[in-house]
């Protein structure tokens, strides 16, 4: 069984972590006890570079894992406590899934969908005034008096 060790700089919730993974090395290991798919614990011989690993790929599961903890044991053993990274493991299926997305960085700017979280000032407004033409009303019209008189 092989475990490939990486350093991962991507966010936990980054689906495709490929660009953020730097491989350290592959390490062969033998299971000395049960290893679960979701939270495997892998015993390895200690090596200095293993300490730098925070991410790994376990070939028997074909899955990617966060290295949550490392336990140094006597006899120069180190145990990697892993938990599955479901996002990267199933990234192709996830990215091909149909979703209903309510928030996204994708548009690059606010959309027509009202956003209550958008940092709009709750009270300050910008007032713009547009004068609509010159109109007809004036304070000094020349013949302003409209006289109605009986008779035709």
């Amino acid at each position: 069984m092989m475990v490939t060790l990486y350093t991962n700089t991507a966010d936990v919730y980054k689906i495709d972590k490929t660009a953020a993974l730097t491989q350290i090395r592959q390490v062969s290991f033998t299971a000395t006890k049960q290893i679960t798919f979701l939270e495997p614990r892998i015993d390895l011989d200690y090596a200095a570079d293993i300490s730098a690993a925070n991410y790994c790929y376990i070939d028997i599961f074909g899955a990617w894992y966060f290295i949550e903890d490392k336990i140094y044991d006597i006899g120069k053993k180190i145990t990697l406590v892993c938990s599955i990274d479901p996002l990267y493991t199933f990234k192709d299926g996830i990215l091909n899934s149909d979703v209903c997305c309510i928030r996204s960085e994708s548009p690059g700017h606010p959309t027509d969908v009202p956003d209550s979280q958008y940092p709009i000032h709750p009270s300050k407004k910008l007032t713009e005034v547009i004068k609509l033409g010159t109109g007809i009303f004036k304070s000094d019209p020349a013949y302003p008096y409209f006289l109605t008189v009986q008779g035709t």
Binding site: S97, V99, R103, E105
Partner: protein, 826 residues
């Protein structure tokens, strides 16, 4: 309407039988005029030879029997270009008929006439730009109601190529003032400059004259080269008789050897098959007549040893009149290279006979239509704004496509086309069944006709018994003074009668119905300012004060005192391009003077041009602000009423007159009562005396007024009663009409302190201070996207997700689902 679909099995169309023929009609033809060339007879460009009438090839299809005749005036004489259509012996100049162009289905052709291609101007045309949408013909002499709402399907007979003459304006004379929609409309008549093929026009002239005046379709013949390519054919020099129905087929076997100039009799050839039999009413059952002379030019000829269906001569005679000089070139060009294409088995050609000639265009019939020709026809059709198909039957079943041209961003055809996705759902008119398409669901058709215009009304002249004047301050100032001088010089005692005779009232001020002040020059709108101000009359007396006439502009007769004036407009600009442009973040209030400000509904008004109008009623002073969308006749989105006229009090005037009248009345009453009193006094005395002396002897009876009574007491009572009456008359002023005016409220003057212009007050949101550039990356922009997650990028929060597309433990999918809902980075 009689429909005949059979065109010898190769083409289909709808043809209509017509009525009576126009007698005395000799020949008509059109020519695709090459205006750079001389006219056939007179050498003048574009001039037609004397006696030659000109028609234009027209085509069309019957639309529920509503076709109209094309009548093209020529030198003032209208004629039916199709009237001389042989075979229709009964055709009349007003009868409806149509030529078949292989058109099947309903065609939204707007009937009308092709403008003549000569340079003889005809002012009957009214030029309008032709759009590419369902208008195949340009300006119309008479409007046709034939455009239907049915989908037009033009069945293409790919054995012919469409020749599309484009009639363009030779001058660009537009009205200098755009219409209310900002369009420049061609002014007056226009004339054609040339007729081009569509391709030629688009390649060479499109940018010169952007206005296509008319687009026609002409069936035309073309031969293909052996390699299947379309020859370079100069359509512009071709002529087609308008009498030709290209789908009248004739297979003719020429057996008289090589054709050369000369006369030939129809018996020189043998008609193998006559489309006349099959083309129904358009063909006469008569023999083919070849009749051409050397002056008509040499006919291109072709012979081939017979065998099977033999490609035959194409014979073409030219008319005895006209275009002789062009004839040879025309014919040679027309028929050039006529050879059977590879794989051809016969040539079909149609002909038209008349007493003088045959014109025989020919087209080529190939069993396998080269794709290049098909594509060429498709391309041409794509410019015409109609749908077309190559198999009507297949459309009805949905097995064959319907094509439609695509429109570019500039709104013009691109020469490309696409297919209608499901032809069976398009309601079609087939010649077999006018109600087609089992999938057509009329209940899903929206019967409403929508508009974006709300026309303004016109206030009528309601009439009245009043006169209306516009006064300036100076004349108003002397108006009252002039009124007070009305009695100057009138002798005392005659004043009342004078007043009544001139004013019908003792108070001339009564004749002033109202005096309002308006904050705008209303007289420009309602009064005849071309005339000088006139003397103002009260009653029948002109007003003057100290020899100065009181003058004012007098309203025109039949004036309506309501007006709608445009205040202004603005564009309600979408500043942000997102939700912030709408309520409650942004608001827009229209302030108009004298009216309550109007708050706009931004969901309706945003990104529109907002027009503000004011409707004013001069008689009442009422005004209403009206907000419209996008034009002065656009949808009304808000109104607000108010008052802009100030009702000026005239009570001071009335008070003075009132006092005068009261005084006068009192004076007159007292004068009358003096006389009465003397009568009573005498009566009382007499009565009393009578009563007193009743026992002593004779006593004179009171003369009058005293109630006769034998007793003195009643006589005294009567006197007292009489006195009461006098006293009442002295102080009872009920007979004097009260004519003081209430002083009306003057709120309009207060409004004058507010702005007199209209303003749009827009409040827009502001951002909280700070750097928000990472908002999208950390919070994500609110959106509503349904689709593939991989099409998004960056920080994304999903509301739901369908994770059924891959295999994973349920607990893992649960984790994924929760992660998507809390936010992931794609």
């Amino acid at each position: 309407m009689e429909v005949n679909r059979d065109f010898y099995g190769y083409t289909d169309g709808i043809r209509i039988r017509g009525g009576a023929a126009t007698p005395g009609y000799t020949t008509t033809e059109i020519y695709a005029a090459n205006f750079t060339g001389a006219s056939p007879a007179t050498e003048a460009a574009g001039q037609l030879a004397s006696g030659v009438t000109q028609g234009l090839f027209e085509f069309g299809a019957a639309l529920d029997g509503s076709i109209q005749t094309h009548g093209i005036p020529f030198d003032g004489e209208s004629y039916n270009t199709l009237a001389n259509f042989k075979g229709i012996d009964s055709m009349g100049s007003t009868d409806n008929m149509a030529l078949s162009m292989g058109i099947e289905g309903s065609v939204p052709i707007i009937w009308g006439y092709h403008p003549r291609t000569s340079l003889t101007y005809n002012t009957n045309y009214s030029a309008r730009p032709v759009t590419y949408t369902n208008v195949l013909w340009g300006p119309q002499k008479s409007e046709s109601p034939d455009a239907t709402s049915l989908v037009p399907i033009i069945k293409m007979d790919f054995k012919t190529l469409l020749y599309v003459p484009i009639i363009i304006a030779s001058t660009n004379t537009y009205n200098s003032v755009p219409d209310e929609y900002g369009r420049l409309v061609l002014n007056g008549s226009w004339r054609t400059a040339a007729v081009f093929t569509l391709e030629t026009y688009l390649n060479n002239y499109f940018n010169v004259y952007p206005t296509i005046q008319a687009v026609g379709l002409m069936s035309f013949a073309v031969d293909l080269q052996e390699d299947g390519t379309i020859p370079g054919f100069d359509f512009s020099r071709c002529r087609i008789s308008n009498q030709i129905s290209p789908f009248r087929n004739l297979m003719y076997n020429w057996t008289a050897g090589t054709v050369s100039s000369g006369h030939y009799a129809p018996t020189d050839g043998e008609i193998l098959a006559s489309g006349m039999d099959l083309c129904g009413p358009f063909m006469a059952q008569r023999d083919v007549v070849f009749n051409y002379t050397t002056t008509a030019g040499v006919v291109a000829q072709y012979t081939e040893p017979s065998g099977g269906n033999i490609p035959i001569i194409l014979g073409c005679t030219m008319p005895n009149v006209g275009y002789r000089r062009q004839s040879p070139d025309l014919i040679s060009n027309f028929w050039k290279g006529v050879t059977p294409c590879y794989g051809a088995n016969h040539i079909r050609f149609a002909y038209q006979t008349n007493a003088e000639y045959i014109q025989v265009p020919v087209w080529y019939d190939a069993p396998q239509l080269p794709e290049i020709l098909r594509e060429a026809v498709h391309r041409m059709m794509s410019y015409l704004g109609v749908m077309w198909a190559d198999d009507i039957g297949g459309i009805e079943t949905g097995d064959r496509p319907i094509y439609i041209g695509t429109i570019g961003d500039d709104g013009l055809a691109t020469g490309t086309y696409t297919r209608v996705s499901d032809p069976s759902e398009i309601r079609q008119l087939s010649s077999d069944d006018f109600i087609n398409d089992s999938t057509y669901d009329p209940s899903r058709i929206d019967p409403n006709v929508y508009t974006d215009v709300m026309e303004s009304g016109t206030a009528p002249d309601v009439g009245s018994c009043n006169r209306y004047y516009a006064l300036d301050r100076e004349n108003l100032g002397i108006l009252y003074s002039a009124l007070t001088q009305t009695l100057d010089g009138v002798p005392t005692g005659e004043k009342e009668e004078y007043l009544l005779s001139h004013f019908l009232t003792t108070s001339p001020g009564d004749l002033i119905v109202s005096l309002k002040w308006y904050p705008f020059d209303f007289y420009n709108l309602f009064f005849n300012t071309t005339e000088q101000p006139k003397i103002i009359f009260i009653g029948d007396l002109p007003l003057e004060y100290d020899q100065f006439n009181v003058v004012g502009y007098k309203a025109r007769t039949n004036t309506s005192f309501s007006v709608t004036t445009n205040i202004g407009f603005f564009k309600l600009f979408r500043k942000y391009g997102d939700f912030r442009d709408y309520s409650p973040f942004t608001s827009c209030t229209i302030y108009t003077p004298f009216c309550t400000p109007i708050k706009l509904d931004l969901s309706v008004c945003m990104d529109h041009i907002i027009y503000v109008q004011m409707c004013i009623d001069l008689l009442t002073g009422a005004c209403t602000a009206v907000i419209r969308l996008d034009s002065t006749q656009g949808i009304i989105v808000g109104t607000s009423s108010g008052s802009c006229g100030v009702d000026l009090p005239v009570s001071s005037l009335d008070q003075a007159t009132y006092n005068n009248a009261t005084f006068s009345a009192i004076q007159e009453t007292k004068a009358a009562n003096k006389q009465l009193a003397s009568q009573y006094i005498g009566a009382v005395s007499n009565g009393v005396m009578t009563a007193v002396t009743a026992g002593t002897g004779k006593v004179p009876k009171p003369a009058q007024a005293v109630q006769a009574g034998s007793s003195g007491v009643s006589g005294v009572m009567g006197v007292l009663r009489a006195w009461d009456t006098k006293i009442a008359a002295d102080y009872n002023l009920s007979h004097i009409p009260e004519h003081y005016k209430e002083i009306s409220t003057v709120t309009s003057t207060l409004s004058m302190l507010l702005p007199l212009n209209s303003y749009a007050i827009i409040e827009r949101p502001q951002m909280l201070p700070g750097d928000h550039s990472q908002y999208g990356h950390t919070v994500g922009y609110a959106t509503l996207y349904n689709g593939r997650l991989g099409d998004l990028s960056g920080y994304t929060i999903c509301q739901t997700a369908d994770l059924s597309g891959f295999a994973a433990p349920s607990s893992v999918k649960d984790m994924i689902y929760q992660a998507l809902r809390s936010g992931v980075y794609v």
